[in-house]
Symmetry: C2
Subunit: 329 residues, 2 copies
Protein backbone atom coordinates (compact mmCIF):
# COMPACT_ATOMS: atom_id res chain seq x y z
CA UNK A 1 0.00 0.00 0.00
CA UNK A 2 1.27 3.49 -0.76
CA UNK A 3 2.03 5.83 2.09
CA UNK A 4 -0.77 8.38 2.12
CA UNK A 5 0.31 10.16 5.29
CA UNK A 6 3.58 10.87 7.00
CA UNK A 7 2.01 10.76 10.45
CA UNK A 8 -1.41 9.94 11.91
CA UNK A 9 -1.97 11.22 15.46
CA UNK A 10 -4.44 9.83 17.96
CA UNK A 11 -5.39 11.92 20.97
CA UNK A 12 -7.87 13.76 23.12
CA UNK A 13 -9.63 16.34 20.93
CA UNK A 14 -9.73 19.48 23.08
CA UNK A 15 -10.45 23.19 22.77
CA UNK A 16 -8.15 25.29 24.96
CA UNK A 17 -9.43 28.21 27.02
CA UNK A 18 -6.34 30.27 27.80
CA UNK A 19 -6.09 33.02 30.41
CA UNK A 20 -3.29 34.81 32.23
CA UNK A 21 -3.17 34.14 35.98
CA UNK A 22 -0.97 34.97 38.95
CA UNK A 23 0.88 32.37 40.95
CA UNK A 24 -1.28 33.26 43.95
CA UNK A 25 -4.39 32.37 41.91
CA UNK A 26 -2.96 28.86 41.36
CA UNK A 27 -2.32 28.57 45.09
CA UNK A 28 -5.81 29.82 46.03
CA UNK A 29 -7.42 27.39 43.59
CA UNK A 30 -5.08 24.60 44.69
CA UNK A 31 -3.86 23.93 41.14
CA UNK A 32 -0.60 21.97 40.65
CA UNK A 33 1.58 24.31 38.63
CA UNK A 34 2.80 23.02 35.26
CA UNK A 35 0.69 19.87 35.39
CA UNK A 36 -2.43 18.63 33.61
CA UNK A 37 -5.20 17.77 36.05
CA UNK A 38 -8.50 16.13 35.11
CA UNK A 39 -11.64 17.92 36.27
CA UNK A 40 -15.36 17.23 35.87
CA UNK A 41 -17.94 19.50 34.22
CA UNK A 42 -18.91 21.09 37.54
CA UNK A 43 -15.31 21.87 38.48
CA UNK A 44 -14.70 23.25 35.00
CA UNK A 45 -17.64 25.61 35.35
CA UNK A 46 -16.52 26.75 38.80
CA UNK A 47 -12.92 27.36 37.75
CA UNK A 48 -13.96 29.16 34.55
CA UNK A 49 -16.08 31.56 36.60
CA UNK A 50 -12.98 32.42 38.66
CA UNK A 51 -10.60 32.81 35.69
CA UNK A 52 -9.73 36.07 33.99
CA UNK A 53 -10.70 36.99 30.40
CA UNK A 54 -9.71 34.16 28.07
CA UNK A 55 -9.21 33.28 24.46
CA UNK A 56 -10.34 30.02 22.86
CA UNK A 57 -8.06 28.04 20.53
CA UNK A 58 -8.09 24.48 19.33
CA UNK A 59 -5.67 22.31 21.29
CA UNK A 60 -5.17 18.67 22.24
CA UNK A 61 -1.62 17.36 22.41
CA UNK A 62 -1.49 15.06 19.34
CA UNK A 63 -3.78 17.43 17.41
CA UNK A 64 -1.30 20.26 18.02
CA UNK A 65 1.46 17.98 16.73
CA UNK A 66 -0.50 17.14 13.58
CA UNK A 67 -1.25 20.85 13.01
CA UNK A 68 2.50 21.46 13.23
CA UNK A 69 3.29 18.72 10.71
CA UNK A 70 0.65 20.11 8.32
CA UNK A 71 2.12 23.60 8.70
CA UNK A 72 5.49 22.04 7.72
CA UNK A 73 3.74 20.72 4.58
CA UNK A 74 3.91 17.16 5.84
CA UNK A 75 0.84 14.97 5.26
CA UNK A 76 -0.88 14.52 8.62
CA UNK A 77 -4.09 12.82 9.77
CA UNK A 78 -5.85 12.78 13.13
CA UNK A 79 -8.19 10.58 15.12
CA UNK A 80 -10.00 12.03 18.14
CA UNK A 81 -13.52 12.57 19.47
CA UNK A 82 -15.52 15.78 19.63
CA UNK A 83 -19.23 16.44 20.04
CA UNK A 84 -21.11 18.01 17.14
CA UNK A 85 -21.41 21.31 19.07
CA UNK A 86 -19.92 24.81 18.61
CA UNK A 87 -16.53 23.92 20.12
CA UNK A 88 -16.47 20.61 18.23
CA UNK A 89 -17.00 22.46 14.97
CA UNK A 90 -14.27 24.95 15.93
CA UNK A 91 -11.88 22.06 16.59
CA UNK A 92 -12.72 20.36 13.29
CA UNK A 93 -12.43 23.61 11.35
CA UNK A 94 -9.02 24.48 12.75
CA UNK A 95 -7.51 21.06 11.99
CA UNK A 96 -9.03 20.83 8.52
CA UNK A 97 -8.13 24.43 7.69
CA UNK A 98 -4.44 23.80 8.34
CA UNK A 99 -4.60 20.71 6.13
CA UNK A 100 -4.90 17.80 8.57
CA UNK A 101 -7.11 14.91 7.41
CA UNK A 102 -9.71 14.56 10.20
CA UNK A 103 -12.81 12.41 9.77
CA UNK A 104 -13.55 10.82 13.17
CA UNK A 105 -17.36 11.02 13.52
CA UNK A 106 -18.56 13.53 16.13
CA UNK A 107 -20.86 12.52 18.97
CA UNK A 108 -24.47 13.61 18.53
CA UNK A 109 -25.46 12.88 22.11
CA UNK A 110 -23.72 12.59 25.45
CA UNK A 111 -20.87 14.75 26.72
CA UNK A 112 -19.86 18.04 25.05
CA UNK A 113 -16.54 18.72 23.35
CA UNK A 114 -13.60 18.62 25.78
CA UNK A 115 -12.16 21.83 27.16
CA UNK A 116 -8.83 22.53 28.77
CA UNK A 117 -8.71 25.55 31.06
CA UNK A 118 -5.13 26.79 30.78
CA UNK A 119 -3.67 29.32 33.18
CA UNK A 120 -0.52 31.05 31.99
CA UNK A 121 1.53 32.52 34.85
CA UNK A 122 3.93 35.50 34.46
CA UNK A 123 6.85 33.04 34.01
CA UNK A 124 5.03 31.77 30.83
CA UNK A 125 4.45 28.36 32.44
CA UNK A 126 1.05 26.78 31.72
CA UNK A 127 -1.13 24.90 34.19
CA UNK A 128 -3.90 22.82 32.66
CA UNK A 129 -7.27 21.61 33.94
CA UNK A 130 -9.01 19.30 31.51
CA UNK A 131 -12.66 18.37 31.25
CA UNK A 132 -12.49 15.32 28.94
CA UNK A 133 -16.13 15.43 27.78
CA UNK A 134 -16.60 13.67 24.44
CA UNK A 135 -13.05 12.24 24.56
CA UNK A 136 -14.18 9.49 26.93
CA UNK A 137 -16.15 7.98 24.05
CA UNK A 138 -13.11 7.33 21.84
CA UNK A 139 -12.83 3.58 21.29
CA UNK A 140 -11.32 0.98 18.94
CA UNK A 141 -14.23 1.48 16.52
CA UNK A 142 -12.82 4.96 15.79
CA UNK A 143 -9.51 3.56 14.52
CA UNK A 144 -9.59 3.82 10.76
CA UNK A 145 -7.54 0.83 9.62
CA UNK A 146 -6.71 2.29 6.19
CA UNK A 147 -5.44 5.46 7.82
CA UNK A 148 -3.10 3.63 10.19
CA UNK A 149 -1.81 1.24 7.54
CA UNK A 150 -1.16 4.05 5.07
CA UNK A 151 0.72 6.27 7.55
CA UNK A 152 4.49 6.09 7.97
CA UNK A 153 4.18 6.79 11.72
CA UNK A 154 1.28 6.36 14.16
CA UNK A 155 1.68 8.90 16.97
CA UNK A 156 -0.08 8.40 20.28
CA UNK A 157 -0.32 10.83 23.19
CA UNK A 158 0.02 9.43 26.69
CA UNK A 159 -2.99 11.44 27.82
CA UNK A 160 -5.07 8.76 26.07
CA UNK A 161 -4.46 6.55 29.13
CA UNK A 162 -6.92 8.73 31.06
CA UNK A 163 -10.19 8.11 29.17
CA UNK A 164 -11.37 4.52 29.74
CA UNK A 165 -11.69 3.05 26.23
CA UNK A 166 -8.88 4.84 24.41
CA UNK A 167 -6.28 2.28 25.53
CA UNK A 168 -7.94 -0.39 23.42
CA UNK A 169 -8.00 2.02 20.48
CA UNK A 170 -4.37 2.74 21.15
CA UNK A 171 -3.30 -0.92 21.11
CA UNK A 172 -5.42 -1.70 18.08
CA UNK A 173 -3.70 1.12 16.21
CA UNK A 174 -0.23 0.03 17.31
CA UNK A 175 -0.81 -3.56 16.21
CA UNK A 176 -2.20 -2.44 12.85
CA UNK A 177 0.77 -0.14 12.31
CA UNK A 178 3.33 -2.82 13.10
CA UNK A 179 1.46 -5.35 11.02
CA UNK A 180 1.94 -3.03 8.05
CA UNK A 181 5.61 -2.43 8.83
CA UNK A 182 4.99 1.12 10.07
CA UNK A 183 6.44 2.87 13.12
CA UNK A 184 4.69 3.69 16.39
CA UNK A 185 5.58 6.77 18.42
CA UNK A 186 4.42 7.55 21.96
CA UNK A 187 4.57 10.78 23.92
CA UNK A 188 4.46 10.51 27.71
CA UNK A 189 2.46 13.78 27.87
CA UNK A 190 2.65 14.69 31.58
CA UNK A 191 4.50 13.47 34.68
CA UNK A 192 1.30 13.13 36.71
CA UNK A 193 -0.26 11.15 33.86
CA UNK A 194 2.86 8.90 33.91
CA UNK A 195 2.38 8.51 37.65
CA UNK A 196 -1.25 7.43 37.17
CA UNK A 197 -0.36 4.79 34.55
CA UNK A 198 3.33 3.94 35.04
CA UNK A 199 3.18 0.16 34.60
CA UNK A 200 1.04 0.41 31.49
CA UNK A 201 3.29 3.08 29.99
CA UNK A 202 6.39 0.93 30.55
CA UNK A 203 4.70 -2.11 29.06
CA UNK A 204 3.43 -0.20 26.02
CA UNK A 205 6.79 1.52 25.45
CA UNK A 206 8.62 -1.82 25.52
CA UNK A 207 6.08 -3.76 23.49
CA UNK A 208 4.91 -1.29 20.87
CA UNK A 209 6.75 2.02 20.77
CA UNK A 210 9.55 2.55 18.27
CA UNK A 211 9.95 6.20 19.17
CA UNK A 212 9.40 7.62 22.66
CA UNK A 213 9.02 11.33 23.45
CA UNK A 214 9.29 12.60 27.02
CA UNK A 215 10.41 15.67 28.86
CA UNK A 216 12.63 15.57 31.93
CA UNK A 217 9.92 15.28 34.56
CA UNK A 218 8.05 12.63 32.57
CA UNK A 219 11.04 10.35 32.03
CA UNK A 220 12.08 10.83 35.67
CA UNK A 221 8.55 9.97 36.77
CA UNK A 222 8.57 6.86 34.55
CA UNK A 223 11.68 5.54 36.28
CA UNK A 224 10.90 7.09 39.68
CA UNK A 225 14.13 9.01 39.94
CA UNK A 226 15.06 12.68 40.17
CA UNK A 227 18.34 12.11 38.32
CA UNK A 228 18.03 12.90 34.61
CA UNK A 229 21.11 10.95 33.54
CA UNK A 230 19.92 7.88 35.41
CA UNK A 231 16.53 8.12 33.68
CA UNK A 232 18.33 8.56 30.36
CA UNK A 233 20.37 5.39 30.86
CA UNK A 234 17.22 3.41 31.69
CA UNK A 235 15.32 4.88 28.75
CA UNK A 236 18.07 3.89 26.28
CA UNK A 237 17.03 0.27 26.14
CA UNK A 238 13.32 0.91 26.11
CA UNK A 239 12.69 1.86 22.46
CA UNK A 240 14.69 2.17 19.23
CA UNK A 241 14.61 5.95 19.44
CA UNK A 242 14.22 7.92 22.67
CA UNK A 243 13.76 11.70 22.43
CA UNK A 244 14.07 13.65 25.66
CA UNK A 245 13.26 17.36 25.76
CA UNK A 246 14.67 19.64 28.45
CA UNK A 247 13.12 23.09 27.83
CA UNK A 248 15.86 25.75 27.69
CA UNK A 249 18.52 23.02 27.99
CA UNK A 250 17.60 21.59 24.58
CA UNK A 251 17.10 17.93 23.83
CA UNK A 252 18.80 14.55 23.92
CA UNK A 253 18.21 11.81 21.35
CA UNK A 254 19.35 8.25 21.92
CA UNK A 255 19.11 5.43 19.38
CA UNK A 256 21.21 2.38 20.27
CA UNK A 257 24.79 3.62 20.35
CA UNK A 258 23.94 6.87 18.61
CA UNK A 259 23.42 9.84 20.91
CA UNK A 260 22.89 13.55 20.25
CA UNK A 261 22.71 16.50 22.62
CA UNK A 262 21.10 19.44 20.84
CA UNK A 263 20.92 23.00 22.17
CA UNK A 264 17.60 24.80 22.36
CA UNK A 265 16.67 27.42 19.78
CA UNK A 266 16.93 30.97 21.06
CA UNK A 267 13.62 32.70 21.83
CA UNK A 268 13.43 36.47 22.26
CA UNK A 269 10.58 36.28 24.78
CA UNK A 270 8.80 33.18 26.03
CA UNK A 271 5.10 34.11 26.22
CA UNK A 272 3.35 30.79 26.85
CA UNK A 273 4.89 27.32 26.99
CA UNK A 274 1.62 25.59 26.03
CA UNK A 275 2.30 23.20 23.15
CA UNK A 276 6.11 23.24 23.43
CA UNK A 277 6.40 19.45 23.62
CA UNK A 278 3.69 18.94 21.00
CA UNK A 279 5.43 21.15 18.49
CA UNK A 280 8.82 19.64 19.26
CA UNK A 281 7.32 16.27 18.30
CA UNK A 282 5.88 17.84 15.14
CA UNK A 283 9.26 19.10 13.96
CA UNK A 284 11.03 15.90 14.92
CA UNK A 285 8.57 13.55 13.22
CA UNK A 286 8.30 15.74 10.14
CA UNK A 287 12.10 15.78 9.70
CA UNK A 288 12.39 12.06 10.38
CA UNK A 289 9.78 11.25 7.72
CA UNK A 290 11.78 13.47 5.33
CA UNK A 291 14.74 11.14 5.98
CA UNK A 292 16.68 13.76 7.90
CA UNK A 293 19.22 12.62 10.51
CA UNK A 294 18.25 12.23 14.16
CA UNK A 295 20.31 15.32 15.02
CA UNK A 296 18.57 17.41 12.36
CA UNK A 297 15.22 16.05 13.48
CA UNK A 298 15.91 17.21 17.04
CA UNK A 299 16.93 20.63 15.71
CA UNK A 300 13.71 20.78 13.67
CA UNK A 301 11.78 19.95 16.84
CA UNK A 302 13.51 22.76 18.68
CA UNK A 303 12.72 25.24 15.90
CA UNK A 304 8.99 24.43 16.06
CA UNK A 305 8.92 24.49 19.87
CA UNK A 306 10.63 27.90 19.88
CA UNK A 307 7.96 29.28 17.55
CA UNK A 308 5.01 28.05 19.61
CA UNK A 309 6.30 29.34 22.96
CA UNK A 310 6.84 32.83 21.52
CA UNK A 311 3.07 33.47 21.49
CA UNK A 312 -0.15 32.53 23.29
CA UNK A 313 -1.72 29.22 22.18
CA UNK A 314 -0.50 25.75 21.26
CA UNK A 315 -0.73 25.83 17.47
CA UNK A 316 1.77 27.48 15.09
CA UNK A 317 1.00 31.12 14.31
CA UNK A 318 3.21 31.29 11.23
CA UNK A 319 4.03 29.16 8.21
CA UNK A 320 6.36 26.57 9.76
CA UNK A 321 7.51 25.29 6.35
CA UNK A 322 8.91 28.74 5.57
CA UNK A 323 10.46 29.08 9.03
CA UNK A 324 12.04 25.64 8.72
CA UNK A 325 13.49 26.41 5.29
CA UNK A 326 15.15 29.51 6.76
CA UNK A 327 16.41 27.91 9.97
CA UNK A 328 17.18 24.29 9.15
CA UNK A 329 17.89 24.64 5.45
CA UNK B 1 -27.65 60.19 42.39
CA UNK B 2 -24.04 59.15 42.93
CA UNK B 3 -21.93 58.21 39.93
CA UNK B 4 -21.63 54.44 40.02
CA UNK B 5 -19.81 54.10 36.70
CA UNK B 6 -17.40 56.20 34.73
CA UNK B 7 -18.70 54.91 31.41
CA UNK B 8 -21.53 52.65 30.24
CA UNK B 9 -21.12 51.29 26.70
CA UNK B 10 -23.91 50.10 24.44
CA UNK B 11 -23.05 47.96 21.44
CA UNK B 12 -23.27 44.80 19.40
CA UNK B 13 -22.14 41.90 21.62
CA UNK B 14 -19.89 39.83 19.38
CA UNK B 15 -17.37 37.00 19.61
CA UNK B 16 -14.47 37.45 17.18
CA UNK B 17 -13.10 34.58 15.10
CA UNK B 18 -9.63 35.73 14.02
CA UNK B 19 -7.50 34.16 11.30
CA UNK B 20 -4.52 35.20 9.23
CA UNK B 21 -5.26 35.56 5.52
CA UNK B 22 -3.48 36.68 2.37
CA UNK B 23 -4.54 39.67 0.32
CA UNK B 24 -5.39 37.31 -2.52
CA UNK B 25 -7.83 35.47 -0.24
CA UNK B 26 -9.68 38.77 0.34
CA UNK B 27 -9.80 39.32 -3.43
CA UNK B 28 -11.01 35.77 -4.14
CA UNK B 29 -13.74 36.07 -1.51
CA UNK B 30 -14.59 39.60 -2.68
CA UNK B 31 -14.14 41.08 0.80
CA UNK B 32 -13.66 44.87 1.10
CA UNK B 33 -10.33 45.24 2.88
CA UNK B 34 -10.36 47.11 6.19
CA UNK B 35 -14.14 47.37 6.33
CA UNK B 36 -16.88 45.73 8.37
CA UNK B 37 -19.43 43.98 6.18
CA UNK B 38 -22.67 42.42 7.41
CA UNK B 39 -23.26 38.80 6.43
CA UNK B 40 -26.03 36.31 7.13
CA UNK B 41 -25.70 32.94 8.88
CA UNK B 42 -25.28 31.09 5.60
CA UNK B 43 -22.53 33.42 4.35
CA UNK B 44 -20.81 33.16 7.74
CA UNK B 45 -20.77 29.38 7.51
CA UNK B 46 -19.44 29.46 3.95
CA UNK B 47 -16.68 31.96 4.70
CA UNK B 48 -15.66 30.15 7.91
CA UNK B 49 -15.21 26.94 5.93
CA UNK B 50 -12.77 28.77 3.62
CA UNK B 51 -10.81 30.52 6.38
CA UNK B 52 -7.58 29.28 7.92
CA UNK B 53 -7.18 28.07 11.52
CA UNK B 54 -8.63 30.68 13.87
CA UNK B 55 -8.76 31.75 17.46
CA UNK B 56 -11.90 32.90 19.25
CA UNK B 57 -11.90 35.99 21.48
CA UNK B 58 -14.65 38.19 22.80
CA UNK B 59 -15.04 41.38 20.77
CA UNK B 60 -17.68 43.96 19.92
CA UNK B 61 -16.57 47.55 19.53
CA UNK B 62 -18.08 49.17 22.65
CA UNK B 63 -17.46 45.99 24.66
CA UNK B 64 -13.75 46.20 23.78
CA UNK B 65 -13.78 49.82 24.94
CA UNK B 66 -15.41 48.89 28.24
CA UNK B 67 -12.89 46.05 28.74
CA UNK B 68 -10.13 48.63 28.22
CA UNK B 69 -11.64 51.03 30.77
CA UNK B 70 -11.98 48.19 33.31
CA UNK B 71 -8.35 47.20 32.69
CA UNK B 72 -7.46 50.82 33.48
CA UNK B 73 -9.35 50.38 36.79
CA UNK B 74 -12.15 52.64 35.63
CA UNK B 75 -15.70 51.58 36.52
CA UNK B 76 -17.35 50.39 33.32
CA UNK B 77 -20.72 48.86 32.47
CA UNK B 78 -22.08 47.36 29.24
CA UNK B 79 -25.39 46.79 27.52
CA UNK B 80 -25.56 44.36 24.58
CA UNK B 81 -27.39 41.21 23.49
CA UNK B 82 -26.08 37.65 23.37
CA UNK B 83 -27.85 34.30 23.19
CA UNK B 84 -27.54 31.96 26.18
CA UNK B 85 -25.24 29.65 24.18
CA UNK B 86 -21.55 28.69 24.40
CA UNK B 87 -20.29 31.86 22.68
CA UNK B 88 -22.74 34.00 24.67
CA UNK B 89 -21.35 32.57 27.89
CA UNK B 90 -17.80 33.15 26.65
CA UNK B 91 -18.68 36.80 25.92
CA UNK B 92 -20.28 37.28 29.33
CA UNK B 93 -17.40 35.58 31.11
CA UNK B 94 -14.74 37.69 29.44
CA UNK B 95 -16.45 41.01 30.20
CA UNK B 96 -17.31 40.08 33.78
CA UNK B 97 -13.85 38.61 34.43
CA UNK B 98 -12.16 41.89 33.53
CA UNK B 99 -14.54 43.75 35.86
CA UNK B 100 -17.20 45.20 33.54
CA UNK B 101 -20.74 45.26 34.96
CA UNK B 102 -22.82 43.34 32.39
CA UNK B 103 -26.36 42.19 33.12
CA UNK B 104 -28.31 42.47 29.85
CA UNK B 105 -30.50 39.33 29.77
CA UNK B 106 -29.43 36.75 27.17
CA UNK B 107 -31.86 35.46 24.54
CA UNK B 108 -33.16 31.95 25.22
CA UNK B 109 -34.61 31.49 21.74
CA UNK B 110 -34.00 32.93 18.29
CA UNK B 111 -30.66 33.79 16.74
CA UNK B 112 -27.34 32.64 18.22
CA UNK B 113 -24.65 34.91 19.63
CA UNK B 114 -23.13 37.20 17.00
CA UNK B 115 -19.81 36.33 15.39
CA UNK B 116 -17.35 38.47 13.52
CA UNK B 117 -15.04 36.63 11.13
CA UNK B 118 -11.87 38.71 11.10
CA UNK B 119 -9.16 38.22 8.51
CA UNK B 120 -5.79 39.69 9.41
CA UNK B 121 -3.59 40.31 6.35
CA UNK B 122 0.25 40.40 6.46
CA UNK B 123 0.12 44.22 6.80
CA UNK B 124 -1.76 43.68 10.13
CA UNK B 125 -4.93 45.25 8.69
CA UNK B 126 -8.19 43.57 9.71
CA UNK B 127 -11.18 42.90 7.47
CA UNK B 128 -14.40 42.04 9.28
CA UNK B 129 -17.49 40.07 8.29
CA UNK B 130 -20.21 40.20 10.92
CA UNK B 131 -23.15 37.89 11.49
CA UNK B 132 -25.28 39.99 13.89
CA UNK B 133 -27.30 37.08 15.32
CA UNK B 134 -28.75 37.90 18.75
CA UNK B 135 -27.72 41.58 18.41
CA UNK B 136 -30.74 42.29 16.24
CA UNK B 137 -32.93 41.76 19.30
CA UNK B 138 -31.44 44.64 21.31
CA UNK B 139 -34.19 47.19 21.97
CA UNK B 140 -35.16 50.05 24.29
CA UNK B 141 -36.35 47.54 26.90
CA UNK B 142 -32.70 46.56 27.41
CA UNK B 143 -31.67 50.06 28.46
CA UNK B 144 -31.26 49.98 32.22
CA UNK B 145 -32.27 53.48 33.31
CA UNK B 146 -30.37 53.36 36.62
CA UNK B 147 -27.21 52.36 34.79
CA UNK B 148 -27.40 55.26 32.31
CA UNK B 149 -28.31 57.82 34.94
CA UNK B 150 -25.52 56.72 37.26
CA UNK B 151 -22.79 56.73 34.58
CA UNK B 152 -20.68 59.79 33.87
CA UNK B 153 -20.60 59.00 30.13
CA UNK B 154 -22.88 56.88 27.92
CA UNK B 155 -20.83 55.54 25.01
CA UNK B 156 -22.54 54.34 21.84
CA UNK B 157 -20.98 52.54 18.89
CA UNK B 158 -22.15 53.54 15.42
CA UNK B 159 -22.47 49.89 14.45
CA UNK B 160 -25.73 49.98 16.45
CA UNK B 161 -27.32 51.68 13.44
CA UNK B 162 -27.25 48.34 11.62
CA UNK B 163 -29.58 46.19 13.77
CA UNK B 164 -33.16 47.44 13.41
CA UNK B 165 -34.27 48.22 16.98
CA UNK B 166 -31.01 49.41 18.53
CA UNK B 167 -31.53 52.99 17.32
CA UNK B 168 -34.50 53.39 19.62
CA UNK B 169 -32.42 51.97 22.48
CA UNK B 170 -29.69 54.39 21.54
CA UNK B 171 -31.91 57.48 21.61
CA UNK B 172 -33.61 56.39 24.81
CA UNK B 173 -30.21 56.08 26.47
CA UNK B 174 -29.02 59.46 25.13
CA UNK B 175 -32.13 61.23 26.41
CA UNK B 176 -31.85 59.59 29.83
CA UNK B 177 -28.19 60.54 30.06
CA UNK B 178 -28.80 64.16 29.19
CA UNK B 179 -31.79 64.32 31.50
CA UNK B 180 -29.44 63.37 34.32
CA UNK B 181 -26.78 65.89 33.25
CA UNK B 182 -24.46 63.19 31.92
CA UNK B 183 -22.42 63.14 28.72
CA UNK B 184 -23.09 61.13 25.55
CA UNK B 185 -20.25 59.88 23.36
CA UNK B 186 -20.61 58.37 19.88
CA UNK B 187 -18.09 56.43 17.81
CA UNK B 188 -18.65 56.38 14.05
CA UNK B 189 -17.29 52.78 13.91
CA UNK B 190 -16.74 52.24 10.18
CA UNK B 191 -16.80 54.32 6.99
CA UNK B 192 -19.18 51.94 5.22
CA UNK B 193 -21.48 52.04 8.23
CA UNK B 194 -21.36 55.86 8.05
CA UNK B 195 -22.23 55.59 4.37
CA UNK B 196 -25.25 53.41 5.17
CA UNK B 197 -26.60 55.81 7.82
CA UNK B 198 -25.08 59.23 7.06
CA UNK B 199 -28.11 61.44 7.65
CA UNK B 200 -28.99 59.71 10.90
CA UNK B 201 -25.40 59.91 12.14
CA UNK B 202 -25.27 63.64 11.41
CA UNK B 203 -28.56 64.23 13.14
CA UNK B 204 -27.62 62.16 16.19
CA UNK B 205 -24.20 63.77 16.46
CA UNK B 206 -25.71 67.27 16.38
CA UNK B 207 -28.63 66.53 18.64
CA UNK B 208 -27.21 64.18 21.25
CA UNK B 209 -23.46 63.61 21.11
CA UNK B 210 -21.15 65.61 23.37
CA UNK B 211 -18.09 63.65 22.30
CA UNK B 212 -17.56 62.24 18.82
CA UNK B 213 -14.92 59.62 17.94
CA UNK B 214 -14.02 58.93 14.31
CA UNK B 215 -11.03 57.86 12.28
CA UNK B 216 -9.99 59.57 9.06
CA UNK B 217 -12.07 57.51 6.66
CA UNK B 218 -15.15 57.71 8.88
CA UNK B 219 -15.11 61.50 9.27
CA UNK B 220 -14.34 61.89 5.56
CA UNK B 221 -17.26 59.59 4.75
CA UNK B 222 -19.54 61.58 7.06
CA UNK B 223 -18.81 64.79 5.15
CA UNK B 224 -18.31 63.11 1.77
CA UNK B 225 -14.84 64.48 1.21
CA UNK B 226 -11.39 62.96 0.79
CA UNK B 227 -9.71 65.95 2.41
CA UNK B 228 -9.01 65.36 6.10
CA UNK B 229 -8.61 69.02 7.00
CA UNK B 230 -11.90 69.89 5.34
CA UNK B 231 -13.64 67.13 7.31
CA UNK B 232 -11.95 68.39 10.47
CA UNK B 233 -13.27 71.93 9.93
CA UNK B 234 -16.79 70.62 9.40
CA UNK B 235 -16.57 68.32 12.42
CA UNK B 236 -15.49 71.17 14.72
CA UNK B 237 -18.96 72.61 15.07
CA UNK B 238 -20.73 69.28 15.34
CA UNK B 239 -20.09 68.33 18.99
CA UNK B 240 -18.40 69.87 22.04
CA UNK B 241 -15.46 67.47 21.71
CA UNK B 242 -14.38 65.84 18.44
CA UNK B 243 -11.67 63.16 18.59
CA UNK B 244 -10.16 62.12 15.27
CA UNK B 245 -7.74 59.20 15.09
CA UNK B 246 -5.27 58.80 12.23
CA UNK B 247 -3.43 55.48 12.84
CA UNK B 248 0.34 56.05 12.69
CA UNK B 249 -0.23 59.80 12.29
CA UNK B 250 -1.68 60.04 15.79
CA UNK B 251 -4.82 61.95 16.71
CA UNK B 252 -6.45 65.36 16.63
CA UNK B 253 -8.79 66.65 19.34
CA UNK B 254 -10.96 69.73 18.81
CA UNK B 255 -13.16 71.33 21.47
CA UNK B 256 -14.35 74.80 20.54
CA UNK B 257 -11.20 76.89 20.16
CA UNK B 258 -9.01 74.28 21.83
CA UNK B 259 -7.15 72.00 19.44
CA UNK B 260 -4.48 69.34 20.03
CA UNK B 261 -2.44 67.30 17.57
CA UNK B 262 -0.97 64.29 19.37
CA UNK B 263 1.64 61.92 17.93
CA UNK B 264 1.01 58.18 17.92
CA UNK B 265 2.71 55.93 20.46
CA UNK B 266 5.59 53.92 19.01
CA UNK B 267 4.87 50.23 18.43
CA UNK B 268 7.71 47.74 17.89
CA UNK B 269 5.64 45.54 15.59
CA UNK B 270 2.00 45.96 14.59
CA UNK B 271 0.47 42.47 14.64
CA UNK B 272 -3.26 43.10 14.26
CA UNK B 273 -5.07 46.43 14.14
CA UNK B 274 -8.36 44.94 15.39
CA UNK B 275 -9.61 47.05 18.31
CA UNK B 276 -7.29 50.01 17.74
CA UNK B 277 -10.12 52.56 17.66
CA UNK B 278 -11.98 50.83 20.49
CA UNK B 279 -8.99 50.94 22.79
CA UNK B 280 -8.18 54.52 21.82
CA UNK B 281 -11.68 55.42 23.01
CA UNK B 282 -11.08 53.44 26.21
CA UNK B 283 -7.94 55.38 27.08
CA UNK B 284 -9.47 58.72 26.10
CA UNK B 285 -12.69 58.26 28.08
CA UNK B 286 -10.91 56.84 31.09
CA UNK B 287 -8.52 59.80 31.23
CA UNK B 288 -11.34 62.30 30.67
CA UNK B 289 -13.35 60.83 33.55
CA UNK B 290 -10.21 61.14 35.70
CA UNK B 291 -10.31 64.87 34.91
CA UNK B 292 -7.18 64.74 32.77
CA UNK B 293 -6.73 67.36 30.04
CA UNK B 294 -7.90 66.71 26.48
CA UNK B 295 -4.28 66.39 25.35
CA UNK B 296 -3.50 63.84 28.07
CA UNK B 297 -6.70 61.97 27.24
CA UNK B 298 -5.62 61.68 23.60
CA UNK B 299 -2.19 60.45 24.72
CA UNK B 300 -3.89 57.89 27.00
CA UNK B 301 -5.95 56.75 24.02
CA UNK B 302 -2.83 56.33 21.95
CA UNK B 303 -1.13 54.29 24.68
CA UNK B 304 -4.05 51.83 24.83
CA UNK B 305 -4.33 51.61 21.04
CA UNK B 306 -0.60 50.86 20.77
CA UNK B 307 -0.97 47.99 23.25
CA UNK B 308 -3.88 46.34 21.45
CA UNK B 309 -2.30 46.45 17.97
CA UNK B 310 0.87 44.79 19.25
CA UNK B 311 -0.92 41.41 19.52
CA UNK B 312 -3.76 39.41 17.99
CA UNK B 313 -7.24 40.24 19.36
CA UNK B 314 -9.16 43.35 20.30
CA UNK B 315 -8.97 43.25 24.09
CA UNK B 316 -5.97 44.30 26.21
CA UNK B 317 -3.51 41.49 26.92
CA UNK B 318 -1.80 43.24 29.83
CA UNK B 319 -2.75 45.32 32.84
CA UNK B 320 -3.49 48.69 31.21
CA UNK B 321 -3.56 50.50 34.57
CA UNK B 322 0.07 49.53 35.13
CA UNK B 323 1.04 50.41 31.55
CA UNK B 324 -0.69 53.78 31.86
CA UNK B 325 1.04 54.57 35.15
CA UNK B 326 4.41 53.94 33.47
CA UNK B 327 3.67 55.79 30.23
CA UNK B 328 1.34 58.66 31.11
CA UNK B 329 2.34 59.15 34.74
Amino acid sequence: MTESYHVVGIGNAIVDVLAHASDSFLTEQNLPKGAMTLIDAHQAQRLYAQMGPAIECSGGSAANTMAGIASLKGRAAYIGKVHDDVLGRVFRHDLSAIGVHYRTPALRRGPTTARCLILVTPDAQRTMQTYLGACIELGPEDIDEDLIVSSQVTYLEGYLYDPPRAKEAFKKAAKLAHGAGRKVALSLSDSFCVNRHRAEFLEFAQTYADILFANESEIESLFQTDNFDLALQKARGLCSVVVLTRSAKGSVVVAGDEMHVIDAEKVVKVEDTTGAGDLFAAGFLWALTQNRSLADSARAGGICAAEVISHIGARPSCDLAKLMAEKLG
